[in-house]
Symmetry: C2
Subunit: 412 residues, 2 copies
């Protein structure tokens, strides 16, 4: 069904996802979630995973027609249901040592014409039921990875002006480039790239800033950092000891903001595609970490619903720095997909924090994490606040101001 896509590029993406991305260990099971449209990639991942010694490769597929069948035919009560038993099982599998791979590349507008209330309810039900499966991932207990496949619907959205097969080929090329798969040795590409990211991680951790100050068009934000925050980026070891690269591609260094110490105004620099709605020109005002005012030129109601999911959904759980000159940013392409768009720009994420971005965070309970400023929520939604016009300073514990980024580029 995807014979027009270069099978060698798909195979190389699969191999890097298995070996560098999830870094599957001998005997480890691999759980894969994917849209049906990504089947050609999943098939090659299975080959490379078994070659790497996988115990079992267990793929779980979603299908757009079946998803739409629900929205178009189901009783209202369906939209509050989720398969608890399945997510509990996944959690059990991760606790038992399984690794996880997610294939992204679904149609970002699949649910655009569906009742937004039902979409939100269904998503919330999955977030609640999904906790046992998400816990080991956000806690970085096991090695995991996300990669992308250029499904037809997604490709048509990114490159609307060319025939769909050409759009898929173009998107595969864009994925290939962004995922640093070119050249003789993609595994070495990733080693080099991680080393580069680690220099920024090291410097930022040595600074141990109290807060970051963002200044740019429509942006004047003092963003406090969590107590004991740890900057991360590139490959790092999961708690099971396996060094993996959770995102392919990745350009970010990121840490845990203080969910109760963010003040001021910030404006999005790119649209946010969320559950079938493109939210444009977001601008929000924070008071003591909480968003108290939010506007958008399109999709404002959906954005407000998102902020209202729970207490933590109107606070932030991640802050990430990406130079404006990053390859994905330079491509100038809007991907309508977080894995790519967040790596084109400095961003923040509403909602859940990553426990491993706080010192000792994986051993702390929810209350202790909260004390340190680490946010808790059912959601985690990244949105872009960086551009060539934004400056970022670090504020030290003694109140000194240290340039971190100037006009969107590293200043150190």
């Amino acid at each position: 069904m995807s014979s027009h896509l270069d099978p060698e590029k798909i195979d190389r993406l699969a191999e890097v996802a298995v070996r560098t991305g999830v870094n599957l260990q001998k005997g480890q099971d691999l759980i894969i979630t994917a849209n049906m449209s990504a089947l050609p990639l999943v098939q090659r991942i299975a080959v490379h995973a078994y070659k790497a010694g996988a115990g079992l490769v267990l793929p779980f597929f979603t299908d757009d027609a079946i998803t739409l069948a629900r929205y178009e035919n189901a009783d209202d009560a369906s939209f509050d249901r989720a398969a608890d038993w399945f997510y509990e099982g996944l959690g059990k599998a991760y606790k038992g040592g399984a690794a996880r791979m997610a294939i992204t590349g679904d149609d970002p507008m699949l649910l655009a014409d569906q009742d937004a209330g039902k979409v939100a309810r269904a998503s919330k039900a999955v977030s609640i039921a999904g906790k046992p499966a998400m816990g080991p991932i956000v806690g970085f207990e096991v090695n995991w990875n996300i990669v992308a496949f250029p499904g037809a619907a997604w490709a048509a959205r990114v490159f609307p002006d060319v025939p769909v097969q050409e759009a898929q080929s173009k998107l595969l090329d864009a994925i290939y480039d962004a995922s640093r798969l070119d050249g003789a040795d993609p595994v070495q590409n990733w080693a080099d790239h991680t080393a580069e990211l680690k220099t920024h991680v090291k410097w930022l951790n040595a600074q141990n800033f109290e807060a970051l100050q963002y200044t740019g068009p429509g942006t004047d934000l003092r963003l406090g950092l969590a107590e004991g925050h740890i900057w991360k980026g590139g490959a790092s070891p999961a708690l099971n000891g396996v060094v993996c690269q959770p995102n392919i591609p990745t350009e970010e260094v990121f840490t845990c903001p203080h969910a109760y110490k963010v003040d001021g105004t910030v404006s999005a620099t790119k649209p946010l595609a969320y559950q079938g709605t493109v939210i444009r020109d977001i601008s929000v005002r924070f008071e003591a970490g909480k968003i108290v005012d939010a506007t958008a030129s399109a999709g404002e109601a959906v954005f407000r619903d998102l902020l209202g999911v729970d207490d933590g959904s109107s606070r932030i759980g991640e802050v990430a720095l990406v130079p404006h000159s990053s390859p994905i940013s330079q491509s100038g392409t809007l991907f309508y997909n977080t894995l790519f768009d967040e790596n084109a720009s400095c961003h923040i994420a509403l909602g859940q924090s990553y426990a491993d971005t706080v010192a000792g965070g994986s051993e702390l309970g929810e209350d202790e994490l909260k004390q340190k400023g680490a946010n808790q929520s059912l959601i985690h939604v990244d949105w872009m606040i960086g551009s060539g016009d934004v400056d970022i300073d670090g504020i030290t514990r003694t109140g000194d101001i240290v340039p971190v980024m100037r006009k969107g580029e590293w200043a150190f």
Copy 2:
């Protein structure tokens, strides 16, 4: 991918599977297992299930390329693994009220070129891990159903002399006819057919035979029936109260044999396709319920391995009567698929019995079931012993002999 298949026939098959087959209740979740090749049917089942008020439709797909990737690349240790957590979860879902639908129609020869030992080990691992998921089904705790989709590989096997797309169309027609989907009201077709099956069920239960005597070419078998055995056939209520039709098509009336009271010789009347091997001309001798001698003109080693899986795999757990004039039998087609071939012929099944074919069986423990003669095993494999040349008599508790079938047709 299946545009050459008549979408109206697929839709009607889906609707009958949902409404008559599983008889999905409002609010009930529906768990579907299917090969990827059956996606067009699963999509229509999802529509009809949600129209019927499904809570959630949860499809789980297998993919041939991914299955082969394992056999061709995995470490040896992989073949003893199974996803325990998944089968435990399924069991939990059924206990929680979910219904089950299985789509058959996989390539019967997919694993023909693979190491038979690995195939057997992988199958045994799934049988063991799968117990929590199989229990509620063999115990008939929930409503369930199996239907077939004419996947390309299966169709090519059944109709090897025509191009594959034509083979799929022919096989869809055969499924359509065998599944009694024709005419103005397929739901009424099934009501009529069930009524017809029930007349035989009623008569056989009234007779309360001690044993059946099979006489035919290469066959002289005294087959004892379990204590308190119950003949079943057509639609019947699961323990959750929902009347469902587990198999579409179905032509059989069946009950529980006595696993320790079968003596004599029986010869298969059709080949048995089992895990990629076609086993031909099976002939076995029973002593006190156990197969003590087995031969086959092809696939004998695979058949012997099957008999050796556990103690119950060399005893029988089901005996079923099907008139030689049944539509599937008259089609003269060998389907290499149990759902069809078993409904073309009287058959017996090696291995696991159905608890609901013994009075009060669902409330009995394994030991009590064994006492009554109900077999326990990891396997359940049907094979065909009926033809136009076989006579069957019932032996009453007082030793009288009552004709049940003559030359393969009902004698009462």
